[in-house]
């Protein structure tokens, strides 16, 4: 694991900081030194891994922070029983491309359903909501007038929801120290 990613993951824990959401719906950092036992959002955090296909992304790191969407029931569910998550995509140490912009997509593992989240902001951030059981996060480089149905440009980063790591015991090894790590899913 790259040291900056490691630090990126550990730092919020060390600082006891976490991401909150205030009335207007935007994220606010809430410092709470007592929240050191929390796993929640961090536990469901998705690492974004650079494909190292594009200049300016080699040293980049990123993650998708996942929270339950607001719900009167605490746990947010769709009518068909999927969890409804709000998420924030954040990239660090990434350089803007001279042509085109980074666009975030979510897709089911078979790529049957693709959700257009939107372009990353100038701060390399974007937020959205997801109800897929398992999903891939794809950050692609798209040119102006890109097709919003699915990505067409090269993939710069990708990640996998934690639920996506629940895979068949047949296709992969049974235990977490088996191939998953080699696939880049830490």
């Amino acid at each position: 694991m790259r040291i900056e990613i490691l630090l990126g993951l550990i730092a919020p824990l060390l600082l006891g900081a976490h991401i909150g959401r205030h009335a207007a719906g935007e994220r606010v950092a809430v410092a709470d030194p007592m929240l050191t036992c929390s796993a929640g959002p961090e536990y469901y955090r998705i690492d974004l891994v650079s494909t190292r296909k594009l200049p300016g992304t080699y040293a980049a790191s990123g993650f998708v922070d996942v929270q339950y969407a607001r719900s009167p029931f605490g746990v947010a569910l769709s009518p068909t029983g999927q969890y409804v998550y709000d998420f924030d995509v954040k990239l660090a140490d990434v350089k803007a491309q001279p042509k085109g912009h980074y666009v975030v997509w979510l897709a089911t593992p078979t790529l049957q359903d693709v959700q257009h989240v939107g372009p990353l902001s100038a701060q390399f951030e974007v937020s959205g909501q997801v109800t897929f059981n398992k999903f891939l996060v794809v950050v692609s480089l798209e040119q102006d007038g890109y097709d919003t149905a699915r990505w067409t440009g090269p993939i710069a980063f990708r990640g996998l929801s934690r639920s996506g790591k629940m895979h068949t015991s047949i296709g992969h090894g049974l235990f977490q120290d088996e191939p998953c790590v080699q696939y880049g899913f830490n």
Binding site: H18, I19, G20, R21, H22, A23, V30, D32, M34, L35, C37, S38, A39, G40, P41, Y43, Y44, Q67, Y68, R70, P72, F73, G74, V75, L77, S78, P79, T80, G81, Q82, Y83, N133, K134, R162, S163, G164, K165, M166, H167, T168, S169, I170, G171, L174, F175, Q176, C180, F185
Partner: protein, 662 residues
């Protein structure tokens, strides 16, 4: 390890293509997988004798075509009644791990005649007494070979041992009992006959009713309940959610001695808050509550306009029960079984019926008072796409109403939901979930019908569409909550961790639990590992509330508060424990606010007494300690509670006059 893996792979192959022809052709399978093939056949038999309707549902609701096709199985030769899975009751765990134990008869399974299968090899004869049999389960869930013949380390139990069933009264649907302040209700827990899905069972009931009588009172009333125990176990009644006099909280050994068979206890039940509540035993809930000992209490507001106008009201109690061809699946006698995930039923019940129907007119607005009394199942309740809004939960209304598309409701929670049925026809109230197949590492959609609503084409009168269309705000709730806002950001007074310990579990279970450690679902919506769950009793598993500040666990924890004190409790559900699972945490005799989940503040507050802590999450509760006495805080999954997951706290009468004195 290699053979373990091999057997999993082969079982998969078998599952993929399970067809009667394979029963005769296991030649390509290894010795070990032959064994597995056999165990799968036993599972098939077991499933065949389980509830036909449940099986049919499983078939139709699974989109995955690679699952076992039950319809292809030839059941004609099977003599289910002859099956004796066992009689290995008692304290010895019997393992089938050695090759000899696997096939002691030297039976050639390649040419099995199922009608003549000798299941006595699975254990000594039961001599006609109650014996464990395989739990009804989803056919597509393969098991590791060694697990198939393990039995729980506690004896099986069913009520009514030696009772002539025909002598028992036939239970009747629940009746509403309107009670005024000072009124007395005679309430008796007894054995009853119940018919569920066309079969007759011996169950328990309050006043021979299912659910028990619905007690309807005005806020502020106190009623007397003269209780008599006529079931074959000691029992008590807990008045869930009520901030009543501690002496009547119904916790054996804490607030009263358990009421023995034939004995009486007089409860004075006080109703300080509006809303929907429920009563149930606080002794072996996994058995007594599951068998029908539960009822609602509806506390009406004193003021008009507290709720919006509706065309009708419906108290709907949701439950499930586990049955197979042999009847109600046995419970653990000295300890609960299914302690890992709790006991999931395979027949869904609404107000005790597997075929609950209600009739409304087009555009009727119905106020549902929903209560989940299941041992462990959390429902995701849908209303066929009809417009629905949530108005209130356990102990109060929300600050403001919210449109909802479904209502996730954990055991012991209540929600008050208003629904307008605007399309004539039959509408199914369903439980719609994404179940998990751990073996395949897949989610799959699953839908169970809980009740049917028949919507006539006659128009509602009065037409309440206009008032229903508005989401109301409840400033009274906000004002009430306002007094507590100054405590919201303070550090927690107590920190709890939710986890478990295990000992002497079958090695296969321990191994299997290491699978898929990369992802643990936030909630368990289905029993994804019925065998392991069943084989895990209270002898092997202890569920734990751990005080992170003192290290104390469960009943070694004893917190002290003063009346009027406001306390913040932070609960962390450890995702790295041996078997992480969500827990609905219940506090007796007080009310609390869920301030935040994972640091995200809750901006539509409601007073609760039970709330779900998902796996991996941290939940902050603010408890309003208004009610003096010795109280419990516990997980409301019946088997978790029975397996230790509870603590006690006291609230002294020397009150805090003002919250500022904290």
């Amino acid at each position: 390890m290699v053979s373990f893996r091999t057997s999993l792979v082969c079982s998969m192959a078998l599952t993929d293509t399970f067809d009667s022809k394979y029963l005769d052709m296991p030649v390509f399978l290894s010795r070990r997988t032959t064994r597995l093939g056999f165990t799968l056949i036993v599972m098939a038999l077991s499933l065949a004798i389980s509830s036909p309707s449940a099986v049919a549902q499983n078939q139709s609701e699974k989109p995955d075509s690679t699952r076992v096709d039950h319809s292809k199985m030839d059941h004609s030769k099977m003599d289910h009644e002859k099956m004796d899975h066992g009689a290995m009751s008692g304290s010895d765990r019997v393992s089938a791990d050695s090759a000899d134990a696997v096939n002691p008869s030297g039976m050639d399974h390649s040419a099995m005649d199922h009608g003549m299968m000798d299941h006595s090899m699975m254990g000594p004869s039961s001599g006609g007494e109650l014996a464990w049999r395989m739990p009804p389960m989803d056919m597509s869930m393969p098991m590791t070979p060694g697990m198939m013949r393990m039995l729980p380390t506690t004896s099986p139990f069913l009520p009514g041992d030696g009772v002539d069933v025909s002598s028992l009264p036939m239970a009747m649907p629940s009746q509403v009992v309107r009670m005024a302040d000072g009124d007395t209700l005679q309430l008796e827990a007894g054995l009853v006959r119940r018919t569920i899905a066309g079969r007759e069972y011996v169950m328990y009931g309050y006043n021979n009713q299912y659910p028990g009588p619905l007690i309807r009172v005005d806020k502020g009333a106190t009623v007397v309940v003269d209780f008599t125990n006529r079931i074959d176990q000691a029992t008590t009644i807990h008045w869930h959610g009520l901030r009543l006099d501690n002496r009547f909280d119904g916790v054996p050994g804490v607030t009263q001695a358990a009421v023995q068979t034939g004995q009486h206890f007089t409860y004075e039940v006080y109703f300080p808050d509006e809303g929907v509540y429920w009563y149930h035993p606080h002794v072996r809930e996994d058995i007594q509550q599951d068998l029908g000992l539960y009822g609602n209490m509806l506390v009406d507001p004193l003021s008009t306009g507290y709720y919006s106008p509706v065309n009708r009201e419906e108290a709907l109690i949701l439950d499930d029960i586990l049955v197979d061809g042999g009847g109600i699946f046995p419970y653990g006698e000295s300890q609960p079984v299914n302690v890992l995930m709790g006991r999931f039923g395979n027949v869904m019940l609404a107000n005790g019926s597997d075929n609950y129907r209600m009739e409304v007119r087009r555009d009727d607005v119905v106020r549902f008072y929903l209560t989940n009394v299941a041992n462990t199942r959390t429902f995701n309740v849908t209303f066929g796409g009809a417009r629905a809004k949530v108005v209130a939960s356990d102990v109060s209304r929300y600050e403001h109403e919210v449109w909802v598309q479904s209502v996730p409701i954990a055991p012991a929670e209540r929600y008050i939901v208003e629904v307008q049925f605007d399309k004539p026809g039959d509408i199914a109230i369903t439980n719609s979930i994404q179940a998990i197949d751990h073996f395949r590492g897949e989610f799959y959609p699953h839908v169970d019908t809980l009740a049917m609503v028949s919507v006539s084409s006659t128009a509602a009168s009065p037409d309440l569409t206009e008032s229903f269309s508005k989401l109301r705000e409840y400033p009274a709730v906000t004002e009430d909550v306002e007094r507590f806002r100054k405590y919201f950001d303070r550090p927690p007074d107590h920190r709890l961790e939710l986890t478990l310990n295990h000992r002497n579990l079958p090695i296969e279970t321990v191994r299997m639990m290491e699978i898929d450690t990369l992802y643990v679902p936030p909630m368990e919506w289905n029993d994804a590992m019925p065998m392991m769950n069943w084989q895990s009793s209270g002898n092997e598993v202890t569920w734990i509330l751990r005080d992170l500040d003192t290290g104390s666990e469960n009943m070694d924890i004893h917190w002290s508060f003063r009346k009027g004190e406001v306390t913040k409790i932070r609960i962390f559900n450890d995702p790295k424990s041996f078997h992480p699972m969500h827990h609905p945490i219940h506090v007796h005799g007080q009310r609390y606010l869920v301030l935040s989940i994972d640091g995200v503040p809750n901006e539509n507050l409601v007073w609760k007494d039970t709330a779900i802590v998902p796996v991996g999450s941290t939940m902050d509760l603010l408890v309003d300690m208004t009610n003096p006495g010795e109280w419990m805080m516990h997980c409301h999954i019946a088997e978790h509670l029975q397996a230790g997951m509870m603590l006690s706290f006291s609230v002294s009468d020397t009150g805090v006059s003002d919250h500022d004195s904290q």
